[in-house]
């Protein structure tokens, strides 16, 4: 998959501009960015739904707009917004899509995926919950064993068990040599599934990083609420980096010596203590400057 100087400008000034990104065969890349950054526009250009103003997008050497039929033979696509025909059952939809991929036989893989996602496809789509529709969309995207996957927020609406099953599936796809571009907001998901991560903001790719480097930068943020001003000063003196302060509530990072931090806390009147990992956007923020971080 190759994007070279890919540009699409909408009348409102939004769009994607001069995108360069290349995915090697068998590589899985996470595609991140805030809402409206251009992730979905990139994906629509790759799917041949939109025509670029300039530049070039290709998959397996085929132009995504001019040779979209050949491209779609290779691709499994999961749209960000699930919009199924409501007046069908899950099986009827899968039958329709399978018939449009003939002579490819999708039956065995379809059954396997339905079983894996514990999906009853006999149900009418209009009666399905958001999570069930997402599972159906995943089966539709994967049942023809595509060599390339384009997934827009694949785990949105899935419960933790199904998210886990999806990640297992992505591990298998990676081993099978599938190339994939997936947008996501969840570090754990991208960490397990992806080899690299590309960050897009205001229509431009601002960074592409290896997963290993991002993993090394993953840090914990502690949120502490204390009872007195003196406690705040004690914690500040314990060698932590204060990320944010809201009255007597602090967000802080601990560098190195956790024991010293815990001993300091033991002397304070701690009303609340919470810990959370930095999300991917925050890590990128940390890497690429605070100005961008605040707008993410």
């Amino acid at each position: 998959m190759k994007l070279e100087g890919l540009t699409k400008r909408f009348p409102n000034g939004h769009g994607v501009f001069d995108l360069d990104l290349e995915l090697a065969d068998g590589e899985i890349v996470g595609y991140l960015g805030p809402n409206g950054a251009g992730k979905t526009t990139t994906i629509r250009l790759l799917m041949g739904f939109l025509r670029q103003d300039s530049g070039h997008a290709s998959i397996d050497g085929r132009d995504c707009w001019l040779q979209s039929v050949h491209v779609q033979e290779l691709v499994g696509y999961l749209p960000g917004e699930i919009g199924f025909p409501e007046d069908m059952t899950g099986h009827e939809l899968l039958d329709l899509l399978a018939s449009m991929r003939r002579p490819l036989d999708t039956r065995v893989r379809r059954l396997e995926l339905l079983h894996r996602f514990d999906l009853d496809a006999d149900e009418a789509i209009r009666k399905m919950s958001k999570g069930t529709k997402q599972k159906l969309a995943l089966v539709a995207a994967l049942m023809h064993r595509p060599r390339v996957l384009i997934l827009d927020e694949p785990t949105a609406g899935l419960d933790p068990l199904m998210q886990e099953r999806f990640l297992e599936l992505m591990q298998e796809e990676k081993q099978a040599g599938t190339t994939a571009l997936m947008s996501s907001h969840m570090f754990s998901e991208v960490e397990r599934a992806c080899d690299r991560v590309a960050m897009i903001r205001d229509g431009r790719v601002i960074a592409v990083e290896d997963m290993a480097r991002l993993r090394s930068l993953r840090r914990q943020i502690f949120t502490v609420t204390v009872g007195a001003e003196a406690d705040l000063r004690a914690i500040e003196a314990a060698g932590c980096t204060i990320v944010a302060r809201r009255g007597r509530e602090l967000d802080l990072e601990v560098h190195g010596d956790y024991n010293h931090f815990v001993r300091t806390l033991a002397t304070c009147d701690v009303r609340m203590l919470d810990v959370r990992p930095l999300n991917l956007e925050q890590i990128f923020l940390h890497l690429y400057g605070t100005e961008e971080a605040h707008t993410l």
């Binding site: 739904f49 069908m88 329709l96």
Partner: protein
């Protein structure tokens, strides 16, 4: 085209086609059933003859409602048939393309290795098939109704079928420009609005053109003028010219719709 898509969409739309078809048949039966009482109502006939000739022309009473053919051609086929068929054509054309784009399900169809041209061609053929089914059901139902309710053939079947063919082709054209709107308009509401406005405009032009001799030229700008049911049913119209003209217009409109869909930017 894609056979799988055609089959799926045909089955999905079958209930609607059957409902409209049965509606047409029941209405035409109603007209055939009330015709004997209507023909006997001389007082009413006299009253109608006292109306201005222009108005009678609009209503289709060019030769007076003394024959079943004049009654059906002037009554059922000049208003109710047009309304029911137009509603069906506009809504079906919108449902087959613009609705699928608006609700996002077109994404799944276009993510398969079936080209945009093939998807649009399939939807166009499906629309035409549905229009011809309704046309055939109406014609067949009317002929059956005449034999069943009147017990004899009070119609010239040949000219009656010619009229029905031209009527069906008229709605292939109405469905054709609705299909073009469905493929080219920015969203479903715009497509529906455009098709409806155009149909009302064409119908209005014909009515105004028929009522006023000074404005007769307006009727020529309306596609509805190609379907003069009152004359066609009597064998007095220009069957071959009208049928050919409508068929060519329909082919051009569907081709334009397919071309527009191929070039369209899709937010799916």
């Amino acid at each position: 085209m894609s056979l799988g898509l055609f089959r799926s969409e045909f089955v999905k739309g079958l209930r609607t086609v059957a409902s409209y078809g049965m509606g047409m048949v029941l209405y035409v039966w109603l007209f055939i059933w009330i015709y004997p009482a209507f023909a006997r109502a001389r007082a009413l006939s006299a009253l109608l003859r006292s109306l201005p000739p222009g108005l009678l022309k609009v209503l289709g009473y060019t030769i007076g409602p003394t024959h079943l053919s004049a009654f059906l051609g002037g009554e059922f086929y000049s208003l109710l048939y047009l309304v029911i068929f137009a509603v069906f054509a506009i809504f079906t054309a919108t449902r087959l393309v613009a609705h699928l784009i608006d609700n996002g399900s077109m994404a799944y169809l276009l993510a398969t290795p079936v080209s945009r041209r093939a998807v649009a061609t399939t939807q166009a053929l499906l629309l035409l098939t549905d229009v011809f089914i309704i046309g055939a059901l109406t014609a067949g139902g009317a002929l059956l109704g005449v034999h069943w309710l009147l017990g004899h053939s009070a119609l010239n079947e040949h000219t009656f079928l010619e009229m029905n063919l031209v009527g069906t082709l008229l709605f292939a054209v109405v469905a054709g420009y609705s299909f073009l709107a469905s493929c080219a308009a920015p969203d479903e509401r715009a497509a529906l609005g455009l098709s409806t406005a155009l149909t009302l405009l064409f119908y209005g032009l014909r009515v105004v053109g028929d009522v006023s001799s000074q404005a007769a030229f307006l009727a020529h700008a309306s596609v509805f003028s190609a379907f003069n049911s009152a004359k066609l049913i009597q064998g007095q119209g220009h069957f071959a010219r009208d049928a050919l003209g409508l068929a060519l217009a329909a082919v051009a409109l569907y081709a334009a719709g397919i071309a527009a869909f191929r070039r369209r930017q899709l937010s799916l």
